[in-house]
């Protein structure tokens, strides 16, 4: 069972939930990042995701370690899909279990923020009248000033 993986097929949320279930857990949170039809008023036809797969899986695992060190007893599973995705399809699913709910929410949100900072995955938006790889120009990330922060705070 791989807790952190990049896949090309649709993601099964239930499988991720099963990966983190345990008798000690009282709370499981999941986050599903789906392909939205409109971004900044522009209609997306579909998305194309690309990854540097081996490093992306390593970075996902690193996020898992960061979470375990911040939230004791939290268990995390993350799957990110690459390739062509239609509107409504899940690009990423994060599942976190924890004995207590607060940690399950916080750790889950931490995971998606970190994914957007350090995991080598790129998204291309395809519109009716063009396409563009998304990076700096729309998001706030920029590496011009050095390394992506390896730890929040």
């Amino acid at each position: 069972m791989k807790l952190f993986e990049i896949v090309t097929e649709p993601i099964n949320t239930n499988e991720l939930i099963q990966k983190v279930e345990k008798r000690e857990a009282g709370a499981i949170t999941t986050f599903i990042g789906t392909v939205r039809e409109f971004t900044n008023g522009k209609r997306t036809v579909y998305l194309e995701y690309q990854a540097y797969v081996p490093m992306a899986e390593k970075m996902l695992a690193q996020i898992g370690e960061e979470i375990t060190s911040k939230w004791e007893n939290a268990i995390v599973a993350i799957t990110h899909r690459i390739g062509s995705l239609d509107i409504g399809e899940a690009a990423v699913v994060i599942a976190v279990s924890s004995p207590h709910r607060k940690a399950a929410y916080e750790a889950n949100e931490y995971a998606i923020e970190r994914i957007k900072q350090i995991v080598p995955i790129w998204k291309k938006e395809i519109w009716e009248d063009g396409q563009e790889w998304i990076g700096d120009q729309l998001e706030k990330t920029s590496y011009q000033n050095g390394l992506p922060k390896m730890e929040k705070e």
Binding site: G33, Y49, Q50, A51, Y52, P54, M55, A56, K58, H80, A91, V92, I112, I115, K116, Q117, I118, V119, P120, I121, W122, K123, K124, W133, I134, G135, D136, L138, E139, T141, S142, Y143, Q144, G146, L147, P148, M150
Partner: protein
């Protein structure tokens, strides 16, 4: 030989995902400069570099045999 992996807009610009460079040693900073001059990869300046799947600093040394990835700003999630 150093292998340089390209992704996203850089890959599309050169129409290839891999550049084998006949080099023995070069710093990350020098490699970026080289890719900009030689291949016109202007946006390499805003990219990160990973050596053997780990993020590297501008002064880190790349040696023959290393796999180097040019990582433009990521947009996963």
């Amino acid at each position: 030989m150093i292998t340089v992996l390209l992704f996203a807009q850089l890959q599309e610009q050169l129409q290839k995902d891999k550049l084998p460079l006949e080099m023995d040693r070069i710093s990350v900073r020098e490699l970026k400069e080289y890719l900009k001059e030689e291949f016109g990869l202007v946006r390499v300046t805003e990219a990160m570099v990973a050596i053997n799947e780990a993020y590297a600093l501008e002064d880190d040394e790349i040696k023959s045999g290393d796999i180097v990835a040019i990582i433009p700003p990521v947009s996963g999630g």
